[in-house]
Structure formats: structure tokens, C-alpha cells
Amino acid sequence: VRPLVGLLLLLALPPALRAQDSVIVIDPDAPAADSLERVGPPPEVVAELIEFYNDSTTTRVQGDVTFPTGSRFAGRLALHRGNLRIAGRVEGPIAVANGTLHLLAGADVRGDILVIGGRLIRAAGARHEGRQRVFWDAAPVALTDEGLLEIRERRRPIGDLAAARTSFQTGKVRTTLLLSTGGTYNRIEGLPILFGPTFDLRTGRRSAFKLDLRGILRTAGSNTRLADFGYQARGEFRFGRFGVAGEVYSELTPIEDHPLSPGEVGWSAFLLQRDYRDYFDRRGYGGLAWVQVTRPLRLELSRRRDDERTVRATDPWSLFRNSDRWRSNPPIDDGHYVTTGVRLDLDTRNERYLPSTGWLIQARFEHSSSGDVAPVLLPRLVRPAVPLGQRYAYDRIFFDVRRYSRITPSLRVNGRLRADGWVGGDRLPVQRRVSLGGPDLMPGYDFRAFTCAPSGFTDPALSALCDRVVSAQIEVRSRVGLNLGYRTRGRENQSRRFIGIEEADLVFFADAGKGWLAGDGPGQVPANRIPSFSEWKVDVGIGLDAGEIGAYIAKGVSEDESVKFLVRLRRRF
């Protein structure tokens, strides 16, 4: 499938005609061009309209005005905002600004007609002698206190009108002030509040500089190492397809990015006191450089130095089960880590949230080392003791490949292959270890059903201890009418509003995965081998996905698992 690049309007038509042209020709194979084109009536015609309207000899009207059959008007006539209906005789030119001119049956107009910002609707039997110019696009005019027209400054584009922030321009610098939540709610910092400015400076036609400053205010966690206040600062310079950035930060970082998205984790924690992620405190600085090879393909090289520390769970409020204890947050291998990473992103999806076709490939490799690691004591089967006072270094790889396909107009098949884990050097620190089980990758199994913890090892935090995980998912989707709700009727008995969920995807899915410790010990898999598929755990399920919410039933078939019921607030993948 060809990615969406370079859809272009054919702009051969003269501007005056394009506004009214009822067929727009799209040529997907035309060369790509980034642009924002603001289309409007020609400035000289707008100036002519203003001059006509403001002329002291012009009769000016506003709102809905009708010249009935048999009426007669002579002179210059102008209307601003409204409907001018003419069924009688008008001798003279007519101008309409941001309104509609109706020539009704029996109308007889002898003079030029200029309509900007509206239509000319002409009934059969209406007569007109003179030039006729009509521009549907709105006239950028406003009425002054004296009742005259003047040019109105163009407002900001609608994309800039976001409710949670405000932007203003000072010279060449565009400043945006943001105040928002941190996108989640968790047992460490409660509800983080983010605030701060972003400065955008366009330094050239193809280059731009951006400085993003964010303060993080935490509503919980004041009695832990984590301070009430965190920060993120990032400076970025872009030149065409290339960019470099530097950043400093003090933030809470999740150990794994599954089994739920940050928004879902937030709702789960806030409502049910269930936080499905673990976290550590990360403070440091780094730099990265990237190249946008093509629109969907991006490569990135980064290096950073982090001070990574354990944080304890606190006791933020939750709507239900508030008296329960939160799952403890696991200790990590504290230390300063220097990490060099390479990352690749390929995104040819047609949509971000509800894609139906395309690829999403994310891959990264990182080499990390530390000279002062303070390791957590883990069972020897999980990790040999980390010698203190020596350099500690490891390599890790991650990839996530997703394919979205439509195999018939109404049937979609999506697949995902994901792997994460250790590939070389010393064994991974706790904060880089992995697990399986839970709504995202293996919904037929409990949260962290596969942590690679040896038998007899009790861990209330259910820490992820595997060296490696691999998982594969496939799903088949078909859109169905659901009509779970009821339909109301509007005042005129025509505006029917459906309260509830009107349609959804029926989803059949299967997942398979395996988490393991690399090595030659009991229950381990040799470091140079991936477990055969017969060793993977498998689940199957069915569900309904209405886009913003989905309900699923899943069952693990490799072990005697109970049926799981899940509610998701986003697509599975």
C-alpha cells in the first residue's frame, strides 16, 4: 500500500473558479509539498467590495431583507450579513458581503452583482443584466462602529485554538504556555501536573529552534526521595530532515511500557487502586540527533547519563478500595548509567488511533554502563551476583512490529510481533528486566503471570525478572452495528441522537508469548536460542471494540487459566 505522500490539488484552475468548482481533482502521485494554503477571495475584489459598501451613495442594509414582488429600487445596494431576497426590480449594482443573495421568481436586476462570502441562488424566471461575480469564501471584513466595512485581521488557524494552552507571538518567537495533567495517575506521584512554556523560533525557511520547559508538580510522594517538583527541559534544532536536541530531566520513569497505556493505568489507579506499572526516579541529561529519512522513516542516535534511583510507593487517594494497600514498587539497581542508543521508527499507518492499513515498526538498541551500581540482591538463578566496584555494562534490544491490513472492505487483520530483552554483556539491571501477562500482550493470563521468578521466591511487588520476552498477536476485526443504547429525537423530530454505543468492531484474537531467563541452568533457555513455539503460552479471545472503549473475554489455553474479562480504553495495539 502506498503511503500517503503528496496528495495535491490540481491548482491549474484560476482562483476565482476554484472557489466554486464542484469537482476537486486529487493526484496522489504528484510531488509532495508541505504547505498551509489559506484560500480566500482575491484581495483586490475584497477592496472593491469595501469601497462599494462604504461609498456614501450606497444604500446599506444588514440581516434579512426582502424586496417583494412589484417593488422597485434604483441605486447602489449593499448587504452585510444576512439574506437579500429580491422579487422586484433593482436598477443598479448589488454587493453582498458574507451573505446570500436570492433572486426570486420575478426578480429583475439591472446592474453588476458581487457576492463575497455567500452564494447567489437564482430561481427560474429571475432576470439579471450585468456582470456576476460570486465567491463562496468568507470576506475578511468587519463592521466598524460607524457602520462601515474594514479589513479584518486573520485569526489564528484553528489548530492553534487548543483549550489547555495559549500562544502568542513576540517578534520571531512564538510562545506557548501549557498547563495540563501528566497524562496518568500512579501510586508514586499521584496526579502529576505539568506546566511551562514552549518557545518556537523559526530561524529560516527550513530550520527552526524549539525550547520546551516543563515543571512537574506532584500531588503525592512528598515523604519519599522523589521531590514534590520535577522538571523536563529540552532544546531542539531542526534543519530540514535533520535535527539535534539536548535535554535535562528529573522525572518518574516506568520500568515496562505495558500491560496498559499511561491513560489506562491512570484510570485503573484512580478508580480501583490498581497500578499496573512500576517506576523509578531518573535524573540526568542527554543529547540526540536524528534524521527523518522519509516522512514515515526516522533514525535516531542518542547518548545520556542518568542517575537512577528506587522510589517507594505512597498512598494516593483512589475512588474505590481506598483503604487497600497499593502494590509495593520494586527496588531497582541504583546507580549512574551512561547509555548510548540507536532507534528506528517506521510508521506508514493511515491513522494513529484507529489504523486500518500500514506498518508500525519501532526498534532500538542500547548499550548501557555504570561504575557505581548498587545492585539489588536477586536469586542466583535470575542473575549472578554483580561484583561491586567494577564496571557493569549490558546491551539490550527492543522491537515492536505491527501490521494493519484490510483483506476485504469490511474485514481487517492485524498482527504484532514484539521482543525485548538482554542481548549481551552483564545481565540486565532490575529496571530493564521484562515480564509477560496482562491485558496488553497476554490478556488470557493474569497481570505478570510470567515474571521468571524462581519457585519459592516471594516478592510482593511482582517484579519483572525475565531476561527476555517475545510475543506475537493476531486479531481479526469486522465492523458491526451494535445499537447498545437508545435514540432521542430533536425538537423538529429530525435530529436523532444516539446515547450509547452505536457500532463497534467485533474482534477475534489470539496471542502467544514467552518470557525466559537466558542461561544453562534449570528452566533457563540457552543465550543463543529462542524458545520453540511449543514452549510459548497461548491465549484466545473475543471482544467488542468501540474505539474509545472495548470489552474482551480472553482465556489462556496453555495452562488451566480462568476466563478473563477486560475493559480497555484504547485499541489492543
Partner: protein, 234 residues
């Protein structure tokens, strides 16, 4: 959110579980018709896709897509006047007919039209987004906006290989929040840095909730499908 009800077994939980399973099963059983089959019925908004005249030497024909009467359905006008942007997401697919086997999707093209009412100006802004190219137009009257929304789009994606083909067109009309709109523009403009998650700062929790509440509150969404008859390229 996920499966929490099942983590602690006990009679009350089992009853809830049984209820949920029953509801889910009922919902599945309630599914009677594929969505596409009645997409055009019961809605006053219409989507049509037709073929350009058969004038090419080898019989290749392009699709012409047009939606009609969007504002005749009072839901969308009401939504616009409530200050919420309305997004029209068009997609045209080229399908190759293969007798005795699943048809093959050979190509697709999509574009977006986003409309918003600006109450202070009493104007409607219409963004047409073709890949990285964005066109902004403004309309001061409903007549003009209605006419502009009824533009037909001729897509030059005629197949060249010999075979039987048809075009499938989909129009998804939905309500957007401001952050959705902002993100849509960024995504379509190829701003992958933001689109891959960095913008999640401050957005994810609110956006998911907003979208869910918008849906449950009865704000409309609509999906229409249409397809052309089969034609042959020689």
C-alpha cells in the same frame, strides 16, 4: 481497569462476573447485521462514489467521491454550533476482483476535512488536509459551507494492470476535541516525534476520557460506505 474484578475470587465477584459475561454474550448475540450493510440507511447524510466516463483506451476509470446533505442532518450542525469540530475522514480504496479468492486491496488514498464554527466571527473554518498539504477556507454562511462540503473529489488512482477492479469509499464523520484536532494535524503533517508519544505529556488521560465521554454523551459519529460497480482494465 483490566480484569481487576477477577483478581480476588469470591461469591459477589463471581456474580458480577456472571453478569458481565451475560452482558457481553448478549451484546454479541445482538449483532445482527454487518455495519456496512446498513451504513447508508437511516441517515440523511449520503456518500456516493461513481466512475469517471469510460474514455481511457484501456478502460481504466477513476473514482469520483461525493458526500451530500451533511448539514441536512441536524446532528452535525448542532455539534458545530456547540463549538466542537467535525472531522470528515475520506478513504478510497482500489480493490482487484479475483474470482474464487479474496479480493485484493491494491491501493488506497485518504484525506480529511475538518470543519469548525468560530462563534465570535460567526464563520465556519474548513481545513482540507491532503498529506502534508493543508488548505484552509472560511465560509460566512451555511449555504456556502453546505455547498463546499458537497464538493466532489476525483482521485487519479486508476489501476494500470489488466484485470477487474472496483473502488470502495468510506466516509467517517466524527466529533473532535481540540487536542484531537491538534494531534490529527501533527500526525498528518508527519510530525512523528510528537505523534509517537512525546505529546502524551498532559494529553493521554484527558483525551481518552474526553473521547469516551463524547461518545457516550451521544455526540454523533457516522460511518458510510459505498462502492462502485466493477470495471475492467484491458
Amino acid at each position: 481497569v483490566a480484569g481487576s474484578l477477577l483478581h480476588s475470587p469470591g461469591p459477589p465477584v463471581r456474580r458480577i462476573w456472571a453478569l458481565l459475561v451475560s452482558l457481553a454474550a448478549g451484546a454479541l448475540l445482538a449483532i445482527a447485521t454487518p455495519r456496512g450493510a446498513h451504513a447508508q440507511a437511516g441517515n440523511s447524510v449520503r456518500l456516493e462514489v461513481r466512475l469517471t466516463p469510460d474514455s481511457a483506451p484501456r478502460g481504466a476509470r477513476a473514482p469520483v467521491v461525493r458526500s451530500d446533505n451533511l448539514l441536512g442532518d441536524g446532528r452535525w450542525l448542532s455539534t458545530l454550533r456547540s463549538g466542537l469540530p467535525v472531522r470528515l475522514h475520506y478513504r478510497v480504496e482500489v480493490w482487484r476482483s479475483r474470482n474464487g479468492w479474496l479480493d485484493q486491496l491494491t491501493r488506497q488514498v485518504y484525506w480529511d476535512v475538518v470543519v469548525r464554527h468560530e462563534p465570535l466571527l460567526d464563520e465556519y473554518t474548513m481545513l482540507t488536509i491532503f498529506g502534508s498539504r493543508v488548505q484552509e477556507r472560511r465560509y460566512a454562511t451555511l449555504d456556502a459551507l453546505t455547498a463546499a462540503l458537497a464538493f466532489a473529489y476525483q482521485i487519479n488512482i486508476s489501476p494500470t494492470e489488466a484485470g477487474g477492479y472496483y473502488y470502495s469509499a468510506t466516509l467517517e464523520v466524527s466529533t473532535l476535541s481540540d487536542s484531537d484536532l491538534d494531534e490529527l494535524e501533527r500526525f498528518l503533517e508527519g510530525d512523528l516525534e510528537r505523534a509517537r508519544g512525546r505529546e502524551g505529556i498532559g494529553d493521554a488521560l484527558g483525551r481518552g476520557a474526553t473521547r469516551f465521554l463524547l461518545r457516550l454523551a451521544g455526540l454523533p459519529s457516522l460511518r458510510l460506505e459505498a462502492r462502485t460497480r466493477r470495471f475492467a482494465v484491458r
